[in-house]
């Protein structure tokens, strides 16, 4: 446990001594809950349509696939046409693209960003490294199967898939969302312990509350 997270006795300006427990005082320790669908089928369908048409990607490039995502915003591929947009903060983004191999250190940050995103949220894994470890299959510090750690909605094969593949992937994801089958967030909430156990097995210095809002 890092020094700044240890429990400590602090003296207030009026002289009263009290205990400050950083993990409990600084962070919200609530677990994620399963968010129900909207009021009725039609409204949920309509919302799914809107969610599909305006996919906001989190600007978080891990691994070599990130370089493929930049051209999406250039004139040649221009993902804006499909309502896709970059968002710098996880709060405002719905789609998290894990673009390539994921070292354990990056996994810790990826989980933190994923958990700060709002429900519903989708994850796309690029390339074979996220499927089965790819060419780093026997590496000591990358994760081999992304599915154990994050609920992935779509994989785009290719080492690394070109922008056109990404655009096709987005179309595929839109179909999933419109069909209502992209409920990764609720799935994560349902078997949260399982996911968290897997993650802690790999990330040894997990000095955070389980779910980082």
């Amino acid at each position: 446990m890092k020094e700044e997270l240890e429990k400590r006795i602090v003296k207030g300006p009026d002289g009263i001594e009290f205990e400050v427990e950083p993990l409990r005082d600084y962070y919200c320790e609530a677990a994620p809950t399963v968010m129900p669908q909207a009021y009725s089928k039609i409204i949920e369908g309509f919302f799914n349509w809107a969610r599909a048409e305006s996919l906001w990607i989190l600007g978080f490039g891990t691994g070599c696939g990130a370089i493929e995502m930049r051209p999406l915003m250039t004139p040649r591929f221009d993902a804006y046409r499909y309502g896709v947009q970059w968002r710098p903060t996880p709060r405002q983004s719905n789609l998290f693209i894990i673009s390539g191999y994921l070292s354990v250190k990056t996994l810790k940050r990826a989980i933190r960003s994923y958990e700060q995103m709002q429900n519903p949220k989708y994850v796309i894994g690029l390339g074979s490294c996220t499927i089965n470890g790819g060419m780093y299959w026997d590496s000591y510090n990358t994760i081999k199967c992304l599915d154990d750690y994050l609920p992935v909605d779509l994989y785009i094969a290719g080492c690394m898939p070109r922008p056109e593949a990404l655009l096709a992937g987005f179309e595929e994801l839109k179909k999933l969302i419109r069909a209502g089958k992209a409920e990764g967030a609720n799935q994560y909430a349902e078997n949260f312990e399982w996911y968290k156990a897997n993650q802690k097995k790999v990330i040894l210095d997990w000095d955070m509350p389980d779910y980082n809002w």
């Binding site: 602090v10 919200c28 978080f60 996880p90 940050r109 809002w213």
Partner: protein
């Protein structure tokens, strides 16, 4: 009545009897001495009563039964009676004070004391010049003897060497005097002063030189500037009781001797007297600045005061029948004050100025010290104040402005080092040795205090004006001195009821303009005092200071005559000085506040004296009839005085320290209420004198620029402040700059805007100071970057500050916008353009520091040590909530305050008024309906708020570290709270405008004064011979200056 000669006879008889007593009958000897001194005082008191109140005539006592030229005659007129009473009383009190020393040294020292007092009375009474010489020599010898009473004679030879230097000087003086006397006798044929005066000595052959020798010898007794090294050594080393006699009694006697001599010399010698006097006064006061030994400082101060009286003597030709009133006013104030301080120094063990902080445990002694300081500086209600006022009036009438300026400059320096000393007493840590608790000595000191206050009452009666001590508000404030032993909450109730009661009693007498000010001073004051319930214990000194300030403020509003106005102005200055001084680290700031305010007050005094042009009663309204050549100068002097109080730029450096370091409940009083006194003064000035011109420049245009610059620089400096209260203080400078700008526009809406600012500024500044004070009280610090995230722990303070900053920044729904709206309409109709541009820049700048205040304290990251702090005390929150209510009501219905004032202003500025029909306020250019704005914004706001609440009803409440931190975990609250150097880019862009040039300017002046003092005091090398050189050099120089030039 008993004949005056008995004074001398009693002393001689007693001294004679003491000779017969046995050595060991010390008690009896002491009693006889006291009896003799008491009898002498009783005789002179009887004469004072007879001559002063019974209306008896001055009596000549012919000693040898024949007419003067052939015998010595003594005269007992009113001046002589008062002076002999002063001398004898000082002698009696000092004798009481010296009880155990006199017992130790036996009856010979008693005889010497009696002879000394007798000789001094002789100097005053005698009308014969040679007899005067004899009495002077008696004083010399007895002084030589009395110096040896000092307790450090055994320890070291300082008193001895001082005595020897004194004897050297007196030898030279006696030589000069004797030669002068004999030649004067040779020329006129008589030794009688009145005879010589009649014989017109000047015209006779050799008469001028003879008179010069006599004159310069007696003047040397007055310890004039270059030739007074010996006097300082005596003051420093002699026993304090003797120093009291030496400064009060000997000084008074010598002064009266010179006055008698001037009868002989005639009018042509008066300028010489004035010159010597004023040089001594100013230089000695300047030298006193660099003193650290208390008795030597008092020595310098007493030399300076005697110099001042000598200057007054030099002005006897223009002072007419007020001559004795003024001369005795200053002399008695000096005598009582100086004697009291010397007696007080006997109680304190340490000789450094900071060692006097031992007095802190004794409130009565501090009250005594304060009375004596007030007497010396000439603050109301003491005689020095009346004397200074009359003196200024005469000097200004005669056009002797340089002399008036020098006198005021000297008085300012004296006030400076005395208040600095008082600051040491209140603030410096106490030395190990406490105060000597000898009841007899304390009785003597309190006798002096009672005498001081009696003189204050007497001079009030004699002044021919409303006696200050009978003014109800002042009496109410002084009454609190008697209540000091009660608990603070009780005194608070009495104070609040007093203020509210006074308002209820008198509110019908004011016109709308004054009514607003009175409401702010009395009801506003009562509201601010509510916050004082949060303290506990007795709070010694808080309520007299506070009530003195409120008394001053109320008397300021009710004053019609310029004298009452000025007296009220000084009262509120002193009261607020005591309040500010209570802060923990406020000593230097309170001192700079006192000096700036007193300098401002003196410039107001000079302004009124100039405007009065000799008239005894000069009302404020008649400012409009001041003749044109003088009017601009009067305007400038008064405006500068009032602007020091509203901290216009250039005169503002005292404000941040004074308001920031004051206590939690004092800051709102000083900042919210006191600044309005300056504005009220400016309003009276501009109502009276309208637009003045000096060399073609319109003075109100200059004030426009000053107001605009104050607004801009005040706000700019506030942005870069790390300390919350200093930020608010600088913002006050900015707001006052606005009000000054409004006044200087000299049109209907400009004044209305100024009044709007007066009301607004009082409400939100008091509220903000209270909430910041409450937060500082809870978090223990005022630095904003140490706070943060207090919104959850101190919600009410947060609401108060938020409403406050919305009001201050002028954002629509609240009353700040009203001020801005009127401001825009005002500048539309005025023909000045350029100053407005600076105001436009300062409008948004105000926004920056307001947001910084609320962000760094209430929002952002909560620090560890603040996790358990409670909301601010109830008694701080209650006034804030009342202020919030006031702001909302004033925002909704500004008409209740402004409508009447608007109609009242019509007869000063006919066109450009506002139209008040129903909810809508229309001006010549635009319209504004506060209620509609509030409703519309409220409805939109509530709708959206409930819509958001509905949509986010299931939102997850998170804590302070659940933030987007580029996928990392924030390290600690201190490192994630962005507050230090909050507007760094702004500082890069506009930092050059806030370099502290003004502070630099004022510091160089004070440093120059201290350096000059340090340099010039090297003149006193301590060598008796060099002092003799100084004396002879002084004689030669004065001779050549008088004759040659």
């Amino acid at each position: 009545m008993v004949s005056a000669v008995y004074i001398i006879i009693a002393a001689l008889a007693a001294a004679f009897i003491l000779g017969f007593l046995k050595e060991q009958w010390r008690g009896l000897a002491y009693v006889i001495t006291l009896a003799a001194l008491a009898f002498m005082s009783w005789v002179s008191a009887g004469w004072v009563w007879a001559l002063g109140w019974q209306g008896a005539e001055a009596v000549d006592i012919l000693t040898a039964g024949t007419e003067p030229p052939f015998a010595i005659n003594l005269r007992m007129g009113l001046p002589e009676a008062v002076l002999t009473l002063l001398v004898n009383l000082t002698g009696l009190l000092s004798a009481l004070y010296l009880k155990e020393v006199l017992f130790r040294l036996g009856r010979r020292s008693l005889v010497v004391l009696l002879i000394a007092i007798m000789a001094l009375s002789g100097i005053i009474l005698t009308r014969d010049i040679f007899n005067l010489f004899v009495f002077f020599e008696l004083v010399v010898i007895s002084t030589g003897g009395l110096i040896l009473l000092s307790d450090d004679v055994q320890s070291n030879s300082r008193a001895l060497s001082a005595g020897f230097k004194y004897l050297i000087a007196s030898q030279i003086i006696s030589v000069l005097l004797l030669v002068g006397i004999i030649f004067a006798y040779h020329a006129t044929g008589t030794l009688n002063i009145d005879g010589m005066a009649g014989a017109d000595l000047m015209a006779l052959q050799g008469g001028v030189i003879a008179f010069f020798l006599m004159f310069i010898a007696i003047v040397a007794e007055l310890k004039p500037f270059p030739a007074n090294g010996w006097a300082l050594d005596i003051y420093e080393s002699a026993h304090p009781a003797f120093s009291a006699i030496f400064s009060a009694a000997t000084g008074a006697a010598a002064l009266y001797a010179v006055d008698k001599l001037l009868l002989i010399g005639g009018v042509s010698w008066l300028p010489v007297a004035t010159a010597i006097g004023i040089v001594t006064f100013v230089v000695s006061n300047t030298l006193a600045l660099s003193q650290s030994n208390d008795r030597r400082l008092l020595g310098y101060s007493s030399i300076a005061q005697i110099g001042l009286v000598f200057t007054v003597l030099g002005q006897r030709d223009i002072l007419g029948d007020d001559y004795y009133y003024i001369a005795f006013g200053v002399l008695i104030a000096h005598a009582v004050g100086k004697a009291g301080l010397y007696w007080l120094s006997g109680l304190v063990a340490g000789r450094g100025l900071t060692d006097w902080s031992a007095l802190r445990g004794h409130p009565l002694l501090i009250f005594a010290f304060l009375t004596f300081v007030f007497l010396l500086v000439g603050l109301p209600p003491f005689p020095g104040f009346y004397a200074k006022w009359e003196l200024a009036r005469y000097l200004a009438a005669e056009g002797r402005l340089a002399l008036l300026a020098l006198i005021l400059f000297g008085a300012l320096i004296e006030a400076g080092y005395l208040f600095r000393w008082f600051g040491y007493i209140i603030k410096r840590e106490r030395p190990a040795q406490g105060v000597v608790s000898d009841p007899l000595k304390q009785v003597v000191i309190f006798a002096a205090v009672v005498a001081g206050w009696a003189m204050a009452f007497l001079w009030g009666e004699l002044s021919g004006r409303a006696n200050l001590l009978l003014a109800l508000p002042l009496l109410f404030a002084l009454a609190f001195l008697l209540l000091e032993w009660l608990p603070a909450w009780f005194k608070n109730i009495v104070a609040i009821s007093g203020l509210v009661g006074y308002f209820a009693m008198t509110y019908t007498e004011y016109d709308p303009l004054r009514l607003i000010f009175i409401i702010i001073f009395t009801l506003g004051g009562a509201l601010t005092l509510l916050a004082s319930f949060h303290t506990s214990g007795k709070r010694i000194g808080f309520y007299p200071g506070a009530m003195l300030m409120y008394a001053g403020l109320v008397m300021l509003i009710r004053a019609t005559d310029s004298f009452d106005f000025f007296a009220a102005w000084e009262l509120l200055t002193i009261g607020s000085y005591f309040l500010i001084l209570r802060g923990k680290h406020s000593e230097p700031h309170a001192l700079s506040y006192a000096i700036f305010s007193l300098a401002g007050a003196f410039s107001i005094l000079a302004g009124f004296a100039l405007a009065a042009d000799g008239a005894v009663h000069f009302t404020i309204q008649s400012l409009s009839e001041v003749a044109t050549p003088l009017a601009p100068w009067v305007f400038i002097l008064l405006a500068v005085g009032f602007m020091t109080k509203t901290a216009a730029i250039g005169l503002h450096i005292w404000l941040p320290g004074a308001h920031a370091e004051a206590e939690t409940d004092v800051s709102p009083m000083v900042s919210g209420i006191l600044l309005k006194a300056g504005l009220y003064g400016l309003m009276m000035l501009m109502l009276g004198m309208g637009i003045q011109e000096l060399h073609g420049i319109k003075l109100n245009y200059v004030m426009l620029w000053i107001g605009a610059l104050s607004a801009l620089l005040g706000n700019l400096m506030a942005i870069f402040e790390e300390d919350a209260k200093r930020l608010l203080a600088y913002s006050s400078i900015g707001q006052m700059g606005y009000a000054l700008f409004g006044l200087a526009l000299m049109n209907h809406l400009g004044w209305l805007m100024a009044l709007m600012f007066v009301i607004n500024h009082y409400i939100y500044k008091s509220m903000l100071f209270m909430s910041v004070g409450g937060v500082a009280k809870r978090t223990g610090t005022r630095d904003m970057y140490r706070m943060g995230g207090l919104i959850t722990l101190m919600p009410l303070s947060f609401i108060a500050v938020m409403i406050g900053i919305i009001a201050v920044s002028g954002v629509p729904p609240l009353s700040g916008f009203g001020g801005r709206w009127i401001f825009y309409n005002a500048i539309m109709s005025s023909e000045y353009r350029l100053p407005m541009l600076i105001i436009f820049l300062s409008v948004p700048v105000a926004f920056l520091y307001l947001f910084r205040l609320i962000h760094t304290i209430f929002l952002g990251q909560l620090k560890d040590e603040h996790r358990r702090i409670k909301e601010a005390p109830f008694w701080l929150i209650l006034p804030q909530m009342i202020y919030v209510a006031c702001l909302l009501v004033f925002a909704l219905v500004p008409g209740i305050a402004l409508r009447h004032v608007d109609r009242y202003l019509n007869d000063f500025f006919p066109n450009g008024g506002l139209g008040w029909d129903g909810l809508l306020i229309t001006s010549q250019y635009g319209y504004w309906s506060p209620i509609n704005i509030m409703i519309i914004i409220g409805v939109i706001f509530m709708l959206l708020f409930f819509w958001l609440l509905f949509v986010n009803r299931k939102a997850q409440k998170v804590k302070q570290f659940n933030i987007v931190f580029s996928a990392e975990r924030p390290y600690r609250p201190e490192t994630t709270h962005f507050a230090w150097n909050f507007f760094a880019p702004y500082r890069k862009a506009l930092g050059f405008m806030v370099q502290p040039f003004v502070t630099l300017f004022w510091n160089t002046i004070t440093d120059f004064l201290h350096a000059a003092a340090n340099l010039v005091r090297r003149l006193y090398t301590g060598n008796g011979q060099t002092y003799a050189y100084h004396l002879l050099l002084f004689v030669v120089v004065v001779f050549f200056v008088r004759m040659g030039v």
